[in-house]
């Protein structure tokens, strides 16, 4: 009979009989110093890296802040305010220049007495975009009709003018700045979505010739740079039309951008169409729906919902790319800045950089906002998928 000792296992050589000494408390696991150690100085190479990056930031950030804010000139009527020799102090960004020219940057040469029409258009645009992008907005179907049918027509009447209802016509040659940047992007999105859907459907069609035509169109346009499409629209469009018919200088790039954006949109929509399960198509067909009804009521609503982030990303790309209309002489925001910065009235060394900073601010706010929105939608859609 084995004798059991009081501590079980005490007679076994490999079992520790005595509890080991407690470990020293962990040096620091929380608090700012522990955080610093873990995230910035976890090893010697890491610490060197941290100091290198800090040095780099020290090299970039203080001069930038000094230029943009501390040394900046906020008020002034002409270049005298922004020249070091005249102002008698170091001069950073010349915001007075932007303040002075903000009307030109926003409306271009649009007649001052008619600028309320552009303001109204901005407001209508904001309503349309808000309605489309706010996923829980009431009656989004009405919103779509507003944005894709009513709004374009209303914009055309409002911006180009219509004598019969008392709106003086304004030639597009006078449009400029943010107005043109927005017009080009909105035309791009409003036209590219329907055409892109048609092209995507065509590319997935069973009819060989329809498919071939769509594939060739999409791949050719996606294979060439936007500039070549714009130059093509600018120089070749007048050639292809009967003699005597002239195309508006602003309409040409609009056509180019619409063609270009449609090809990219088609590929985004195609991704959505492919993601809709086959059962949905088969279910629709078994209910006796024809091709167009099946697409319109069953497939497209699901496909488009999936690709909202893709559509927004395409739009961000389009919005940035509209700056290329600059090349063919259309006065968009970048072109108005280029024109204003070489104006002798504001000839001062920092004026160019200020103009670029203003453009950068405008584009960054718009694009960053849209990309955050697209991320939010993506997360929301993913939440729906997780259930």
């Amino acid at each position: 009979m084995a004798v059991h000792s009081l501590t079980p296992g005490a007679d076994l050589a490999y079992v520790q009989a005595r509890s080991s000494d407690p470990l020293p408390p962990p040096s620091l696991v929380r608090g700012p110093i522990a955080w610093l150690r873990q995230n910035l100085f976890s090893s010697i190479p890491n610490a060197i890296l941290t100091f290198a990056v800090l040095g780099l930031l020290l090299l970039i950030i203080p001069p930038t802040i000094r230029f943009l804010l501390i040394d900046a000139v906020w008020t002034g009527a002409d270049r005298a305010a922004c020249r070091e020799d005249m102002a008698g102090r170091p001069v950073g960004a010349c915001w007075a220049f932007v303040v002075d020219r903000i009307g030109y940057f926003t409306y271009g040469g649009y007649p001052v007495e008619s600028r309320w029409r552009v303001d109204l258009w901005f407001a209508m645009l904001a309503v349309g975009i808000g309605w489309m992008l706010w996923l829980k907005a009431p009656r989004r179907d009405v919103g779509a009709v507003y944005f894709f049918a009513i709004f374009p027509v209303a914009s055309f009447v409002l911006l180009t003018g219509w004598q019969a209802i008392g709106l003086t016509p304004v030639a597009t040659a006078f449009w400029g700045g943010i107005l043109v940047t927005l017009v080009v992007s909105i035309v791009g999105i409003v036209f590219s979505l329907p055409f892109g859907i048609l092209l995507a459907l065509g590319r997935r069609s069973k009819l060989p010739l329809v498919k071939l035509a769509c594939v060739v169109f999409i791949e050719v346009i996606r294979g060439v740079p936007l500039i070549t499409v714009l130059i093509m629209a600018n120089t070749m469009l007048p050639l292809f039309l009967p003699a005597g018919v002239s195309v508006d200088r602003l309409l040409r790039p609009l056509i180019g951008v619409a063609i270009f954006a449609s090809a990219y949109m088609a590929e985004v929509v195609r991704g959505g169409l492919q993601a809709v399960p086959k059962g949905q198509y088969e279910g629709a067909m078994s209910l006796g729906l024809g091709y167009w009804r099946m697409m319109l009521f069953i497939v497209l609503p699901q496909a488009l919902r999936i690709v909202i982030p893709g559509i927004v990303n395409t739009f961000i790309g389009l919005f940035k790319d509209t700056s290329l209309v600059y090349v063919i002489g259309v006065f968009d925001l970048m072109k108005t800045i280029e024109a204003a910065r070489i104006d002798p009235q504001w000839a001062a060394p920092t004026v160019s950089n200020t103009g670029y900073a203003f453009a950068a601010f405008f584009y960054f706010v718009c694009c960053f906002g849209m990309s955050r929105y697209s991320l939010m939608v993506e997360r929301k859609l993913a939440a729906g998928q997780r259930r």
Partner: protein, 398 residues
């Protein structure tokens, strides 16, 4: 009784027959397209005749009469338009090739930095990516060209980086390598080195497959490719002939003479394209690395692989499968974006051919068609190569 089975299928009306409908749709589509093209062509012929503009590609043979700032091949105002086209094409390819190499390097560094455990490194990388991706490339090019490079000092006050590198508002000046006649020995030794390195790595792989023994392939390759030419160079130098010497730019009173001058337009375009594309590549690299599941790293660690081999043999090969396809489309984007050269006056294909040549000759259709065909060819060739690569690298599911 089975009357149902034997009944002939109900004769549908011809209007509802999907086959007939399909044919009708396609005939209508073709008819519309042909009509459009025909109308455009006849209008174009009429308009060209009215404007007295020649058509056809004969103009490629005639004298261009304009100069180009940066030419990789001999070119002057007496050269032909065809030659100008070639100059533009080479300039596009040059900036695209250099941009792709630099953007890949920067993009991988930033992509890995975004995943760094070092908080500040990850943050700086994120800010870089978000800032650059959300600004138009055109704005960035103008910034680099006008705000940075044009603002550099005059040639007489050039920034001197030492070792014969100068920077001023006329560009970047570097030592120009001068190749002596007997440098073929050097080239030959380089070629021999490359062949030897390849042969050695093949041998090492066979040996590993047969015996499991590993050989220091990387070090050996470095020795063959770098060491051998270096040795030959030293020998030649000892014999008194220097195969490659450098001509340094000389600072004179108003300008710099000699050396290799890189034009500011080229510097700005390369810089802008590199920084812009690298931000997109960084996102692709980050997504690729995140796509390799943690289990892979853990399994490699469990097998006793250290962090270096884990990265090299397990993570990167799997990440590359995710990274390569979008990376290729970024390369294509970079090549297409190089056409923004026209904004800062770098003589690329679009600037030379769709700009100057088109304006001089007025032959819009030919110029646009040729330029588009070049970009399209680049795209299609790349896409074909990539599809082939994807087919070989795709996961083989059993």
């Amino acid at each position: 009784m089975s009357t149902i089975a034997s009944r002939p299928p109900a004769k549908a009306s011809l209007v509802n027959d999907p086959k007939v409908r399909g044919i009708v749709y396609q005939v209508v589509l073709v008819a519309v397209l042909v009509a459009l093209v025909w109308a455009a062509a006849t209008n174009a012929i009429d308009n060209l005749r009215a404007a007295k503009i020649a058509s056809g590609f004969g103009f490629l043979e005639s004298t261009s009469g304009f100069d180009i700032g940066q030419t990789l091949i001999p070119y002057s105002a007496t050269s032909t338009y065809g030659r100008a086209f070639l100059v533009g094409l080479l300039n596009t390819l040059l900036v695209a090739a250099i941009g792709i190499v630099l953007a890949t390097f920067l993009g991988f560094v930033v992509g890995v930095a975004r995943l760094s455990s070092n908080w500040i490194v990850a943050r700086v990388a994120t800010v870089y990516v978000e800032l650059i991706r959300n600004l138009p490339l055109l704005l960035q090019l103008l910034f680099w060209y006008i705000a940075v490079l044009r603002a550099l000092p005059e040639p007489r006050a050039s920034l001197n980086a030492g070792i014969g590198v100068f920077l001023n508002n006329r560009g970047l000046y570097m030592p120009r390598p001068i190749v002596a006649p007997d440098s073929w020995l050097l080239m030959a030794s380089l070629a021999i080195g490359v062949v030897a390195a390849i042969a050695y790595s093949v041998h090492a792989r066979r040996k590993q497959a047969a015996t499991g023994e590993q050989s220091p392939t990387g070090r050996a390759a470095l020795g063959f490719v770098v060491g051998l030419p270096l040795l030959v160079w030293l020998l030649l130098a000892l014999l008194g002939t220097n195969p490659i010497s450098f001509e340094l730019p000389q600072q004179t009173r108003f300008n710099l003479n000699g050396g290799l001058q890189v034009f500011p337009e080229f510097v700005a375009l390369t810089l802008g394209l590199t920084i812009y594309t690298a931000a997109f590549i960084a996102e692709i690299v980050r997504a690729g690395i995140l796509a390799v599941s943690r289990g892979q790293t853990e399994a490699a660690n469990a097998l006793g692989l250290r962090s270096g081999p884990t990265l090299k043999l397990v993570v990167i090969p799997q990440a590359m499968r995710v990274i390569i396809p979008p990376l290729t489309s970024q390369y294509l984007n970079l090549t297409k974006n190089s056409s923004l050269a026209v904004v800062i006056g770098y003589p690329d294909l679009v600037q030379v051919f769709m700009g100057t040549v088109l304006n001089q000759t007025g032959q819009a259709i030919e110029c646009v068609a040729i330029t588009m065909a070049v970009y399209l060819t680049i795209s299609i060739v790349t896409a074909t190569v990539m599809n082939d690569y994807n087919r070989r690298k795709a996961l083989v599911e059993r």
